[in-house]
């Protein structure tokens, strides 16, 4: 057991293959759903290069320097298969910079589905295959085998923890959401209900979201957020072992722009934190084994880290989303029995949760945060492009002799 208090910094790296403007008249004639023309809002190469420039490259530069300067600094990353492929194709220098981080031995990579999918909730076999694909990709590119698991959008329930325990993972991540935590603090290690070895780390959403969502918000009463102020808040729970700061990697430079001072904040954080020598940093697996579980975490319902509801409604809340995803998984057996790798891969790319997020009508009337992340003007455009691609998949299945 560690006698030091640890920040567990965990960043999630992901880009989907966005579906191009793909019309009903394209169905049966072209199958390039993910290849938007250059300059188009859904052009994946453009987006990856843009985010590389704004976020991945500068952030990794800071992280590399922080690792070199502070021997106690550590962090964890999850990087989806879909974004790794796109780094290989469109921004190899970004991949190289992640490889340098991992090579320090102080950056843990967390397991998940290759395609950032919700397959766990629709098809367990498909889910497991995607987890294997991701593990193999990590082995190939980084030479590591993950010991901690996170599911897409930090979705979590008892079943998932049970599965991850049986699969041999030692840690699993979830939102430290009040409805599940009750009076308990997220700053401890917990044991998921009905499991034997695995431990759950729960996100401290208040402090995580201060950085991820509120950092550059000038109408926030705490603006501007300094490391001093932040550590004051962190030190309020000085007698609790962990501080789980989980967020999207793209917080740095993409959601919070460089001119907000976010990089300065990031770089100053370990220095300020480690100034107290009872403080340290840990990776997720390390944190799970360094402290005993204080209680059992029972979570029969599915929680995620999204919206104020912290459930799956951002992806599966309306009929379009529900219809689209169940149509897609309805093709599973036919798709798999074609043994056609490019068809299977296209089907998997359509499973990426972002496609369903773009179809969300919740808050659409307020022109909210969902719109910021969508390349489409409306949820309906997202749905139409997606369903046309789906119909083309069916066309290809029919061509392959499947009984669609």
């Amino acid at each position: 057991m560690s006698d030091k208090r640890a920040i567990v910094l965990y960043l999630h790296v992901h880009q989907p293959y966005r579906v191009r403007h793909y019309t009903a008249l394209d169905v049966g004639h072209r199958h390039d759903y993910f290849d938007a023309p250059e300059g188009g809002r859904e052009n994946n190469a453009d987006i990856v290069r843009k985010v590389a420039y704004k976020s991945y490259l500068p952030t990794n530069e800071h992280l590399q320097r922080m690792l070199e300067t502070h021997p106690d600094f550590k962090l964890s990353l999850s990087i989806t298969g879909t974004v790794l492929e796109q780094f290989e194709r469109y921004a190899p220098e970004v991949l190289a910079s992640f490889q340098r981080l991992v090579a320090t031995g102080r950056v843990e990579i967390v397991a998940e589905t290759y395609h950032h999918s919700l397959a766990f909730f629709y098809n367990r076999d498909e889910f497991e295959q995607q987890v294997v694909m991701h593990r193999e990709k990590l082995q190939q590119l980084f030479g590591v085998t993950p010991t901690a698991f996170r599911n897409t959008e930090l979705s979590y329930n008892n079943d998932l923890a049970y599965w991850a325990d049986k699969a041999g993972y030692t840690a699993i991540l979830c939102e430290g959401w009040d409805a599940v935590m009750g009076w308990r603090s997220p700053n401890f290690v917990y044991q998921p209900a009905f499991t034997s070895n695995i431990r759950a780390l729960t996100k401290n959403y208040k402090l995580s979201d201060d950085i991820a969502f509120r950092f550059s918000n000038r109408s926030w009463e705490e603006y501007p957020l300094t490391t001093d102020k932040f550590l004051d808040w962190a030190n309020a729970s000085w007698d609790q072992p962990l501080l789980n700061l989980f967020m999207d990697y793209e917080t740095f430079g993409e959601h919070q722009w460089a001119d907000s001072g976010i990089f300065g904040f990031l770089e100053h954080l370990p220095k300020a934190w480690l100034a107290n020598n009872s403080h340290t940093f840990m990776t997720v697996s390390q944190a799970a084994e360094s402290f005993p579980a204080v209680d059992t975490l029972d979570c029969p319902q599915t929680i995620t880290w999204a919206d104020t509801e912290r459930d799956l409604t951002a992806w599966l809340g309306n009929r379009m989303q529900q219809g689209a995803i169940s149509s897609l998984y309805g093709l599973t057996d036919m798709v798999m029995s074609t043994n056609n790798l490019s068809l299977i891969e296209d089907w998997r790319r359509l499973q990426t949760s972002d496609h369903f997020y773009y179809m969300c009508t919740k808050y659409f009337n307020d022109g909210d945060v969902h719109a910021y992340f969508s390349p489409y003007q409306t949820p309906y455009d997202a749905y139409i492009n997606f369903m046309n691609s789906y119909h083309d998949l069916k066309y290809r299945l029919a061509e392959a002799g499947q009984p669609v």
Partner: protein, 413 residues
């Protein structure tokens, strides 16, 4: 607040959306305490209207003016004067416009009003005469400009002249959309500070529809729907401005992919024959149904919106466009052109450029082939209507009435 309101039509005796707009607006104004005297160019009964006084503009010696609501453009309307001996004679629109002006001038001299409120150029001369005589604040309400009606060209110079005078001399201009405000500023050189945007809404209740049918008009379409057909609706005047040729072109592509699709075209107008010929030439005779003119506040009209799986308004130019609101009111999803004023306001509808035929067929097919899309658009769209109310617009109008009526009093004490 006593208002002299100058309009050209009211339902059920009307040809376009403007009458429906005036009706709903005045109803809400009356609820907010306004006392409205509404002057029409023709004699008619309005059993639904008890919230304001409606008077026909009768020339000297004429006891009744019969209007032709032939469903065509306003310019080609004609009127019939009937005198107390029962003799009648027909007059052209321009002659009757002068008679309307004289009547309003007489009225303005006799009675005391707080403000004058005039709808579109047909009433502007009368409005200017009333303002000249009484010095009361003048509000002109722009539903469409000559620029819009002529499909984005100069249009009729005489009409432009009248519009310009009205816009210049008005104390305040109410424009029904941002697009209309922009047109007024750009085409008529009017100070934008003088223009307020007052959006329309659609809140007609079931009891306000008149009984022009006792049966469900579209049972045939319902039977077809039960056999897998989908019904696309277009409703409005059949004029170039409405972009229906583009719709036919797009619909031909739809039918190629999905033969079980029907296009119901409701309305009449100068393009009627052309559209029939064009749909025949495209081989669509079996898929396109023309109903001819249907009154816009009757039950048949409502039934058309109710039976449809998708309403399409592909207008080339549409200062506002009330029909998509009618569709959403009947829980029917709408597809509208980005060139319409309604697209400023509505979020949960499909939008496209009117010329993008391929995208139009894509979106129509998407709704026909995915009932989840049809249902979500209908649900979210009609929920959105709840926030687009006449109350909101009328509060704004009342505020400006009061401001100017007060200013006018201060100046004349």
């Amino acid at each position: 607040m006593k208002i002299l309101m100058l309009g050209w039509e009211l339902p059920p005796h009307h040809t376009g959306g403007m009458g429906v707009v005036c009706y709903q607006m005045c109803k809400e104004l009356a609820q907010s305490g306004a006392d409205i005297e509404f002057i029409l160019p023709y004699t008619a009964e309005f059993p639904n209207i008890d919230f304001m006084t409606v008077n026909p503009a009768l020339p000297e010696g004429v006891t009744e003016v019969i209007g032709s609501m032939a469903g065509s453009t306003y310019d080609s309307q004609y009127f019939t004067y009937v005198d107390n001996k029962g003799n009648s004679r027909g007059v052209q629109m321009h002659e009757h416009q002068s008679a309307y002006t004289q009547y309003v001038a007489k009225l303005a001299r006799l009675n005391e009003y707080d403000v004058i409120h005039a709808h579109d150029w047909l009433t502007f001369r009368a409005a200017l005469a009333a303002k000249q005589l009484t010095a009361k604040p003048l509000f002109v309400h722009v539903h469409a400009t000559e620029f819009d009606r002529s499909g984005g060209s100069y249009g009729n110079p005489l009409v432009r002249e009248i519009e310009h005078m009205g816009l210049l001399l008005a104390d305040k201009i109410f424009a029904i959309s941002q697009a209309t405000k922009d047109t007024i500023v750009r085409e008529y050189n009017i100070d934008p500070a003088k223009i307020e945007i007052v959006h329309n809404a659609m809140e007609l209740e079931e009891s306000e529809l008149h009984e022009d049918t006792s049966v469900n008009t579209f049972t045939y379409l319902q039977i077809m729907q039960s056999r897998g057909y989908k019904v696309i609706l277009s409703a409005g005047r059949l004029t170039i401005q409405k972009g229906l040729i583009h719709l036919l072109e797009a619909f031909a592509k739809v039918v190629e992919k999905r033969p079980k699709t029907i296009l119901l075209i409701v309305g009449s107008g100068e393009q009627y024959a052309e559209l029939i010929e064009h749909s025949a030439a495209l081989g669509l005779s079996g898929n396109v149904i023309f109903t001819g003119r249907i009154n816009g506040t009757g039950k048949t009209w409502r039934d058309a919106f109710r039976v449809a799986n998708l309403f399409v308004m592909p207008s080339v130019s549409e200062p506002f466009g009330l029909t998509p609101f009618e569709a959403l009111l009947q829980h029917t999803p709408a597809l509208i052109s980005k060139q319409s004023g309604a697209s400023e306001l509505l979020r949960n509808v499909l939008k496209l450029d009117y010329w993008d035929i391929e995208e139009m067929s894509n979106q129509i097919l998407a709704v026909c082939n995915n009932s989840d899309l049809e249902i979500t658009l209908a649900e979210e769209g009609s929920a959105e209507l709840a926030n687009i109310t006449w109350k909101r617009s009328v509060q704004k109008m009342m505020h400006h009435y009061q401001l100017h009526a007060h200013k006018q009093k201060v100046l004349h004490v």
